[in-house]
Symmetry: C2
Subunit: 185 residues, 2 copies
Amino acid sequence: MSSRKLSKKERQEKFLKVIEEDPFITDEELSDMFNVSIQTIRLDRLALNIPELRERVKKVAKANYKKVRTIAEAEIVGELIDLELNKRGISILETDSSMVFKKTKIVRGHYIFAMAESLAMAVIDADVALTGVANIKYRVPVLAGQKLIAKAEVTKIRGNKYFVHVKITVKDEQVFRGKFILVSI
Amino acid sequence: MSSRKLSKKERQEKFLKVIEEDPFITDEELSDMFNVSIQTIRLDRLALNIPELRERVKKVAKANYKKVRTIAEAEIVGELIDLELNKRGISILETDSSMVFKKTKIVRGHYIFAMAESLAMAVIDADVALTGVANIKYRVPVLAGQKLIAKAEVTKIRGNKYFVHVKITVKDEQVFRGKFILVSI
């Protein structure tokens, strides 16, 4: 998108398209995209009757939580925006300053791990599942405020063992990947 | 130890020896060992002027926190009871019911992961370190109330990469092991 400022009308029209294509875009991302302040984005949302990201995510997540069998809604770190049991799942987590190391302002690894592990668990079609093994790699440090998108895929099921791959990205850049073997008991 | 009940005097003498050998034994473990109620153990501790486990651990941990360079005291999950930078470290975590899955009463994996990862980080002699890779295995489910002991060993240092093995046990049974590669930045 060009850095020329669009008129309010132009912007709000584009706004609707962008939100339709990527319903989980943050106000920060919109502000960068349209080269306007976050305050302007908020006023646009208000004018267009588009709820804040948190609400949009919650609304979509609601139906998915009902499908989850292994763990309780509150135990999933992030919001579950897509779920097909034994196949795949997607969750979103907006990181904040409560999650970072004091010294580096980098999000603590175990929050990212917990997001991945709880999504891996949520996609399993079993009453009870536990993590057996995990091989994980942190690729890029995550900063407070960045929006994490986790995608899980069930790659294999052998007896009571479920093999799940989870990839976490920030704006299409992979920041973490994990391979989990979960066991239903 | 026999299940015959010792006299109060006998018990309190043995008590002192046991605490000296294993200063981080829990009241529950002592109660099993002496075949008396936890209430009796508490009264024994009071009579012998031995503080509760939490206080004993905190006292020992205090000096160790000062040695840690990479992360802040509050960021270590568990209490650090031994630390030799770039060599080894030991931490203790008393699990409780706030840490469990609702459904199974089993301690959530990411608490155990966080204990291991933060200990791995604490043993590194660097200003700033991040986890790069981790291979982990959960061997036995952990229940609320169980005391976890994590031991970390730095097995190799190559440039800015630190290889750390962490083993977590409950009463000498291994419940988790993890291999971490940390990167100082």
